[in-house]
């Protein structure tokens, strides 16, 4: 009963931290435990080792978003891939993937890169619908690419090693981008769009322009994979690096004028995520005490007999969650519930992470309420219904990718086993 009331309040627009907080307050008072327990659990925020990576990577992403890095990145990928038939869409997919990975998949991609890429797509005679759908669905394409914040957060909540998760996502992410690119190449061939000639000097020129930004992913990934530093340290290094490069080398941003504003904006986003995580830690500890995941599991086992049925139900459930809920709250609330259930069906927690994030990535652009659709609707000033239609072909392709990722575990696990041993 109380749960239904709270779902209703959530739908009415009560901030989620208050919804979860009130549920935790209610739960503990109903068993006559002092509410200070919630705070004790909240303080566990300070003992999660990788959590510091979240504010630092968010800060890095905001620095990059505010500088001219997006346009340098688009120039470079245009020089590299623009000669392909369907080249400009491929450019869009790749730059959106990188950019959304760095900016924490928060709608910034559609706003920052959409404005750059839309006119380029249209000038290449791609239809309005195609261009809009492409940019809408690309807004969350970097979800499976390190160092995306949802990926780190999943690792923290599910207590799964983050370096392994990063590795597990490599093949699925490449696969999704390849599928989308194949579709757009076909479109490009059919429409006989004009192509840019490949020119080595253009590649060199744009690479030189972005020379100081190219090492950033290499530093992060190389550092983490080689064990040279932890995810948190990689985050600290990339924040310092981005700050130095954008302020003192490119001079896109001014230290005293822009930095305080960027710090505040990025930390407001971080605060909104962490406060939900804090209250959810309180609620989770209650649920574990009350054995709710176990009861849910027992209930599900009555109806769901095989791993495959479970995966189908999981996919449908997560797609709905993804289009209703913000990704961070979805991870914080849902992962503790489904992790033990998935484990009992013999699903590897790392594979579960990839399935989980891929579902939510698609949910972002799924009608009727996927958030990307609303962001794109306001950014490009088109009706929401037009965006529903535009997104459909891309969603279909992503769904094919999702099915492969869900039912072929080796896509996610092969590289992990190769690098870390099984």
């Amino acid at each position: 009963m109380i749960v239904i009331i709270l779902i209703l309040t959530a739908l009415l627009g009560v901030p989620l931290f208050c919804v979860i907080g009130s549920l935790a307050l209610y739960a503990f008072s109903s068993v006559e435990i002092d509410s200070a327990v919630i705070i004790i659990e909240m303080v566990r925020l300070a003992s999660a080792p990788a959590l510091l990576a979240i504010p630092l990577f968010t800060f890095t992403g905001y620095i990059l978003a505010e500088s001219n890095a997006p346009s340098r990145m688009v120039d470079l990928s245009r020089a590299l891939f623009g000669w392909l038939p369907g080249g400009v869409p491929v450019v869009a997919f790749i730059s959106c993937a990188f950019f959304s990975a760095f900016t924490g998949v928060s709608g910034v991609t559609i706003i920052a890169l959409g404005g750059l890429l839309y006119p380029i797509l249209r000038s290449q005679k791609y239809s309005e619908t195609f261009s809009l759908g492409l940019l809408t669905c690309s807004g969350s394409l970097g979800l499976l690419m390190p160092p995306s914040l949802p990926l780190i957060l999943y690792g923290i909540i599910a207590e799964t090693p983050i370096d392994k998760l990063f590795v597990a996502c490599v093949i699925p992410e490449i696969m999704l981008i390849t599928f989308l690119s194949m579709f757009s190449v076909r479109k490009g061939l059919a429409r006989e769009t004009k192509r840019v000639k490949f020119s080595m000097s253009e590649v060199l020129r744009t690479a030189k322009a972005a020379a100081f930004e190219i090492p950033l992913p290499i530093i992060i990934l190389g550092g983490i994979y080689s064990g040279l530093f932890t995810a948190t340290e990689a985050a600290a290094i990339s924040a310092a690096y981005a700050l130095i490069v954008e302020v003192f080398i490119y001079r896109d941003l001014r230290f005293f004028k822009d930095m305080p504003r960027i710090i505040q904006q990025s930390m407001v986003l971080v605060g909104s995520i962490l406060v939900i995580l804090g209250v959810a830690l309180g609620l989770t500890s209650y649920m574990v005490d009350a054995q709710i995941p176990m009861k849910l599991l027992a209930w599900m086992q009555e109806y769901i007999v095989s791993k495959w049925v479970f995966l189908i139900v999981l996919n449908i459930f997560l797609l709905i969650v993804g289009c209703l809920m913000d990704i961070f709250s979805a991870i914080i609330v849902i992962v503790p519930l489904i992790k033990p259930i998935a484990a009992s069906f013999g699903i590897d927690p790392i594979h579960l992470g990839v399935i989980f994030l891929c579902n939510l990535e698609i949910g972002y652009s799924t009608p009727p309420v996927g958030i990307n659709l609303f962001i794109a609707s306001s950014r490009f000033e088109r009706s929401i219904l037009q965006l529903y239609r535009a997104a459909l072909p891309f969603l279909a392709i992503l769904l094919i990718g999702l099915i492969l990722i869900t039912y072929c575990p080796w896509l996610s696990l092969w590289l992990v086993n190769l690098l870390f041993g099984s």
Partner: protein
């Protein structure tokens, strides 16, 4: 109204200071570990405790800017006058939740203060915890302020 703006100014300044300190501490640690093979014993622990400050100062500013994460399904498809009343109701609800959480935070912080528990060495735990009741109280005040503003002016966030 004015008070909320002043508090926001202090919160912004503190947030900037905290993030910069975390960044500096972590960088110094990396350099020291790799070059001299040592590090400050306390530094990591304090940097981690500071995440509480980031979390709650950020959340409080989030209330100031009305940027909290919410599902917001009904308001998107709801006529304006109705969504104004819904907005007022949700703000009052949030204020109550924040007051209760502030109380819980106060109880726990006071308890840690009285037992004198330390994070490490002679740095007491309550310094880092105090941000919890304070920011929940500020948030409660701000939610009430939003509700009153909506009641008086019909102004939508």
């Amino acid at each position: 109204m004015k008070i909320s703006d002043y508090i926001a100014f202090v919160e912004k300044a503190l947030l900037t200071l905290v993030l910069v300190s975390i960044l500096v501490v972590l960088l110094v640690q990396i350099v020291m570990r790799n070059i001299w093979n040592t590090g400050f014993f306390y530094a990591d622990i304090i940097a981690r405790q500071l995440i509480l400050w980031i979390c709650f100062l950020g959340a409080s500013l989030c209330t100031y800017n009305r940027k909290h994460i919410k599902i917001d399904l009904v308001n998107r498809f709801c006529p304006r006058p109705a969504s104004r009343w819904i907005g007022m109701g949700t703000d009052v609800f949030c204020a109550v939740v924040c007051i209760l959480l502030a109380k819980a935070g106060y109880v726990f912080t006071l308890d840690e203060y009285q037992t004198g528990s330390m994070v490490t060495g002679n740095i007491p735990q309550w310094i880092f915890l105090a941000v919890i009741p304070v920011s929940f109280s500020v948030m409660a005040g701000r939610f009430l302020l939003h509700a009153v503003r909506e009641l008086l002016t019909g102004e939508q966030p």
